[in-house]
Amino acid sequence: MPNAAVAGEPGTLMPLDRHAKRLLEMIAAGKGDTGTELTPESMRRSMTRLAEAADVRSVPIGGIEDHEVSGPGGPIRIRIYTPCDVDAGLLPCIVYFHGGTGVFCGIGTHDGLCRLLASSSGCKVISSDYRLAPEHPFPAAIEDGAYVTHWVAEHAADLEVDPERLVVAGDSAGGTIAAVICQLATLGGGPRIALQALLCPVTDLAEEAESRRAFAEGFFIERSTLEWAKSMYCAGTDLTDPRISPLRAKSLVGLPPAHVHTAEFDPMRDEGEAYAKALAAAGVPVRYTCHAGLIHHFYCMAGAIPTGRAALASVGAAIRNALSAASPSCYGSLRSEEFDV
């Protein structure tokens, strides 16, 4: 993976990707007093518009279907992506949870990401919505995520997916959901998860890691926005609850093998790395990649950040390799830029 580097080690920091830098310059150019107040609704609309402008396009896909699942709090929208040129038989499946601090984004804003993930991994991708705060604060998102994951496992035959090759994945706050679902499934109640793939996951809201301070402003998602969203999503809940901060779980023993991806210039970089290390310390096979030069949310702006597109494709390729390997030995064949821990 040519764009990977172990961030946080002196001397290995890469420059900010020039396309990512351009996007950050655009945000900076729009700073200042605006005529509108920041609200969940305005943020949702801005993210929708951003996706229309920056999402990756022209990704070939075999098929896309929208469905609704009757969740614990009402219908949950899911979108099923089938890759092109699939072999006969059951496909591996990725249940995907979008990010957005638990307050904004949805399956629409992550459409390009899921297309690319399906095409690069060869998996059927089932992208799931979940209830958003402030209308539905924690733990609504976790409940919906867990429900959909169980639903997919139970309906594997109908969905024509292989229940033995079920991947749970997500980015940012969706990465939190994916990580928590894996913890809950391991604690009891299943289902069996073959792999967890976490992109720039939020793993610790209780304490601010160094990267959160270093990239607090000017790196796409700002501390003030994160705090604003946290106040709505957590709504007074104990921030050390492992369903909010999965890094705080008492034990990570027995969790599914993990692919943890971070971006070098991301406030959430250090907590992602810390989670990878904690999983490894608990004996979980882990493949950790810090994508050099990239920023948070790069995977949803891959149309404007070519290296982001390549990085996202590598996320899918790694999943494909892991699922095709008979044993966890794939975690021992990494290039020097990455580490398995």
């Binding site: 830098k21 351009r22 729009g30 005529g35 509108t36 609309r45």
Partner: protein
């Protein structure tokens, strides 16, 4: 005056040009009026004859501004804001957030099939439709 002409061109989709309140040299006006009488009202009007009389940069700038205004209108519509934004009006005050600025710049780039160099991405260049128009016109000039 060039602005009126260009706006007419844009709105008419280049099929008919409204020239009544444009102060053109009288001989040119006469030629155009004659050609209008000769041509059916819905027939395409060839306007290349008087391009030389109107600075191309101004014609382009107006057409560019109209297209940028369209991009801004679509962005604001996303925020359920349905009103015209003046060419010199501050876009942030009009309701665009800093995240919307990314959408705006990328959409403008797509609209004109160009890439704004990093050095040009600064607040003063993107604070209004007219300012963005100047950036686009300068990037479209043949070098």
């Amino acid at each position: 005056m060039e602005r009126t002409l260009a706006r007419g061109m844009h709105q008419a989709g280049a099929t008919r040009v409204t020239i009544d309140n444009v102060r053109l040299p009288s001989i040119l006006t006469a030629i155009i009026r004659l050609s209008e009488r000769l041509a059916p009202a819905d027939a395409p009007v060839r306007i290349c004859a008087f391009h030389q009389c109107i600075p191309m940069s101004d014609v382009n700038a107006q057409s560019v501004e109209d297209r940028i205004a369209g991009v801004v209108r679509r962005l604001l519509a996303e925020h359920s804001i349905d009103r015209a934004v003046g060419p010199d009006e501050d876009l942030r005050q009009a309701g665009l957030s800093s995240l919307d600025m990314v959408s705006l710049v990328l959409s403008v780039e797509e609209e004109f099939d160009l890439m704004v160099p990093e050095v040009s991405i600064m607040p003063s260049n993107f604070r209004s439709i007219a300012a963005i128009g100047r950036v686009v016109v300068s990037l479209r000039k043949p070098h």
